[in-house]
Symmetry: D2
Subunit: 369 residues, 4 copies
């Protein structure tokens, strides 16, 4: 176990190369994980090709670099200060790296680290390269180190492939948490059957959200989602041409919904985001976790008049992940709906082919070492 | 509809008398409700006989007085300023009356009104009599007025008898809310199959609580409760003689439970309350909604060392009740488990017979006009 | 005291007429207040002339109508159910009327009432006219009724004129509360010396906000504000042409400010609002209480990447008002900075002359019966 | 800088020995601090002599061990992963060590780490020895390593001696934070002029608490404290023999105080703790940070009837410490009141002499290398 296979991108636009490299050593507060499955999200292709032109303030790791956001695997080594994990523990690695010493990190508000960085994906801060340097291997490889803070235990009834899907499910989970969505809530999900939207729906069911509304395109998928919680889910097909806010408000006695969760795909017009906000009740919350990239015209006076909170939300905490594991263990989060597409590490470049996602959010592409 | 039948207690220790009295008129912000079912809780007999000696600071209404805590019925008249209710609406009336002008009331913290008062039961403040005077008829009668603030709508799939059970279910719901109990939580319920404890269990299931632990006495009821959410509920029979804290901690990898909900019956020793607190994790919350009346020896230094919050919680808000209705409408709060014992208003004194509660928390005694 | 003088607007664009009308009677949960001072805000002229074209969804009362938002006076009569107020009590009347029966009102979330309505100003809901009808007299008159819920007691060291300024101070106070601004916070105020901005500054000082940054135009007023809390306040004059975000970030070690409070005047470009948002730290909050009316282009992806919350905030609660009174009583909220312009009720139309506000936020125009 | 002087206790009851030992090396996420002042609290003598008999569940480090809780000093070396600190930075080291991998640590709830441990003092968990082993040198030495997470920057206007007092001030600060004490609050402090109580008073002033009530013994110190914020502080001398709850309630119109902060010394009867709780308003919070060690009889039914929260609170977060530094920098936290007693490291055993604390909470004993 001195060396391992790892895929690395040497140049934007070219395929990743498979290389044999030394297995990294865990630092005192790290573990070493043998990767069993690495999730691939539809946005990865955007990150690898367009990111620096779309969002120059969100840096990629210096090339050559290893990619791969969502890792599930087994712990094979623990650092000397790690007390609560053992060799053999099955874990999901939350890829959100934090610097550990900025005011937010020291305030236990790690999600708001000035240099928050997605291992194997991209960073949010000017010094994210330091995080990339500290954890140069992510998911498209055989072994990677991870900070103990980022480990989520996986229950027995969750497979590595399912756990490799935690990323977008967790992003949706965090949004629901910020919306305080649960017993008695009515929420609206923009893009209900997509990768993020399906995660939002599954988590909303598990959290006991009473009424789940949303929009989607594909009618077959709409029916499939509605069957997950009969009577609690209502979906407006986008081609019905109805006014979204009016449609949603009708389910709430006209008062409006408690929260909107925006799960729109990259490239979508911001118009749909604002359309959904008009469905909110006075005091409602709009959580944006979707891919709308364009600068968007917002009705700020209406939002003030109606005490709307527009909350940008990014990824999820380790605690969110642990709650998802507990829900899955208890049978409250149904991860059996996913259709896994397994791509061997040796064929890693094939995993970036967007056409693999042929069944919307139900498709789960994983790279398997 | 000028007069109605109402039961009134004229003297402690004597039976209530059935009398014909004028139907009260709703004030501008009130409604008039035709009572369809009035819940009777085991504690009512204590209130009517021992309350002033047990808790002299909790005043009863001046006699003669009408009693009856949990009312479900139909709105038959609305005050001139009531905008969102109509004749014919099916409602539960939250009996918690508030003064409306103390600092807490004006701060929208109505549960902490200085003179919070249970209509038809007892008060918490020195001036509670003013609330009793303002709403002299409660549940053991044909009609009663209620502030619009206190109305909870009942969904179609909830009967009046079921809604008349909202009181103790809601008390448990509020405790779970304060414990932030939901996805990922492990809670412990002291007295799991009693009137309060069963409410806590039903609400915990609906809120997506992952693991529900507790103690109870009757083994048949224990099995019945466990069958409600297989795999999520574990119960320790009180006669097993085990250390409660150790037993509960074993389900949490030794860390301790997130919250304890104390639902012990009046007359129980406070020792059991403190025993359960030792099951909490560092930072855990103990919510006391039970009937322990004796002054109780508490390990305050251990509670400080472990950052324990001991929260006295009293009844529930109208919003809690509305969330329960939404849960019931969505099929997440199962009210079908109750065995109703209907006592006609004409035989109201029979409803106070404690032996009617022969099936613990599953029994639901209601007075029906 | 059967009749009183009241100013009423009969037609938009015409002066208000002074009329003799019957003194209104308080309902059981109301009080009657003898008006001693009624605040006039710069926006009132906009409301009276442009509101229905600017914001058709924010209804004015049907004409003829009495106007006047911020009332300070003496209680002269109490309704039969009012327990905590007496004749002679000095009070400020929070003009925010609520319906009392919508889901938000029954959930004690009165600020989010579906038909929230400013007495004597304008409404936010489709049925606001019902609130106007229930409380037809506001501030530009001698007496008006008010719900007990809306009363804020005034301490001895606060004058009626000062209390008549609570409206915009309270709006700012609520924004600071939502920003959790206090010990250790760095906040940024857009429009620091205006009517709202000065309120935000005074409240921030009283709440112990450590560092107060902002922009303003008038250099004399800037110096005056800075002298209020030497060393804690830094102001960028708008004509300095600096990048606002860079300027503000420099005071925070580059991390960004905790919150922005937007207090811009009606008619200002939304560009300034977004400029300030870029000054926020990851996880920062932007509270908008200002007058930006135009639809505004927002960088929603940047806001998501940085976990920004954009919070529309509207007015303030009675509890906020009571906290302000406590601060003033303790010497922590300095209301001595205002320069009062007293206009007799008989000359009420003169109070609408915008030129009275010759000293920005320091000017306080009140109508005095 | 290869070796240093360090005081170590080899046997309970014997003096500490001064020894020359190797300077520890910082791990990748640590820094090395040159100690400039180490605070000594009155409780240290209890910890060194009685702790294991008083609280056997709170382990001391294995002997020989270095002690000293509150360290202020200069960073002289940073670990390879430390991004936001530099050599020469002046810091206070929060001594609360956390394991980093238990559920609470991974949930960013580090204060509730299962094995929370005070470096140089004692631990709270069964595995605290692992923390002691990882950071064997604390404050009574020349250099010690510290996790980056625990560093609080010290502003220029705060001396090392003042910063070495952060421990108990911070404990009080955290209690006030949990009580949400600020503008508009009335709080009651049990033991107002003691080491903890004085910290609570100073922080309450800085946070803008409107009214500060409390009890104390020494009349000269009472007057000194009252002069810190004239008109906002009222103190009951314990020998006045008044009913504490009645006395405190009289300042609140009879409603009761918002929070009590219990700062009683070790050995005090729990009776005083419960006496103060009766001063709370319905919904009030009692925060216990004091030394009451005996099991205490509590009126749990009254606490439930009045919705009292009894919160055990332990120490404070790094964020609390950073807020205190910001307050001090802004002139809102007055640290000039302390009378420092400097004891050279070479005479360290003299620092344990309780008689040094001759001026109550005003005395600040520090060991200076």
């Amino acid at each position: 176990m001195d060396t391992m296979l790892a895929a690395r991108l040497h140049r934007t636009g070219q395929p990743m190369k498979l290389e044999r490299v030394p297995v990294p050593k865990p630092r005192p507060t790290d573990v070493l994980v043998a990767v069993k499955a690495c999730g691939v999200v539809p946005n990865l292709m955007n990150v690898l090709t367009h990111w620096q032109s779309w969002f120059p303030e969100l840096p990629l790791p210096k090339l050559p670099a290893n990619f791969g956001l969502d890792v599930a695997g087994d712990i094979v080594e623990v650092g000397e200060l790690v007390q609560n994990f053992r060799k053999g523990d099955r874990v999901y690695v939350n890829p959100g790296l934090t610097c550990g010493s900025c005011p937010a990190c020291r305030a236990d508000d790690t999600m708001n680290c000035t240099n928050y960085t997605f291992r194997g994906y991209f960073g949010f801060g000017p010094d994210s390269q330091k995080q990339f340097d500290a954890y140069p291997f992510a998911g498209m490889c055989e072994y990677s180190t991870a900070p103990q803070h980022n480990l989520v235990t996986i229950p027995d009834n969750v497979t590595y492939e399912q756990a490799a899907r935690y990323g977008y499910i967790g992003t949706a989970y965090a949004a629901l948490r910020k919306a305080n969505a649960g017993a008695g809530s009515t929420i609206f999900i923009n893009g209900l059957t997509g990768t993020l939207g399906l995660g939002a729906t599954l988590c909303a069911i598990g959290r006991g959200v009473t009424k789940i509304l949303g929009t989607a395109r594909d009618r077959a998928r709409i029916e499939r989602v509605k069957a997950m919680a009969p009577g609690r889910i209502e979906v407006l097909a986008q081609d019905e041409g109805k006014n979204v806010a009016e449609w949603a408000r009708a389910f709430t006695g006209g008062h409006g919904v408690d929260a909107t969760i925006d799960c729109l795909a990259p490239g979508t017009s911001g118009k749909f985001l604002m359309d959904a906000i008009y469905a909110l009740r006075r005091g409602g919350k709009a959580i944006n976790i979707g891919g709308v990239g364009e600068k968007t015209v917002m009705d700020v006076h209406w939002m003030m008049d109606n005490q709307i909170e527009f909350i940008g939300s990014n990824w999820f905490t380790t605690a969110d992940g642990q709650a998802m594991s507990a829900m899955a263990a208890a049978g409250l989060l149904d991860l059996s709906v996913f259709e896994h597409v397994r791509v061997p590490l040796a064929e890693v470049n094939r995993a970036l082919d967007g056409s693999l996602f042929r069944n919307g959010g139900f498709t789960n592409v994983v790279v398997v070492p």
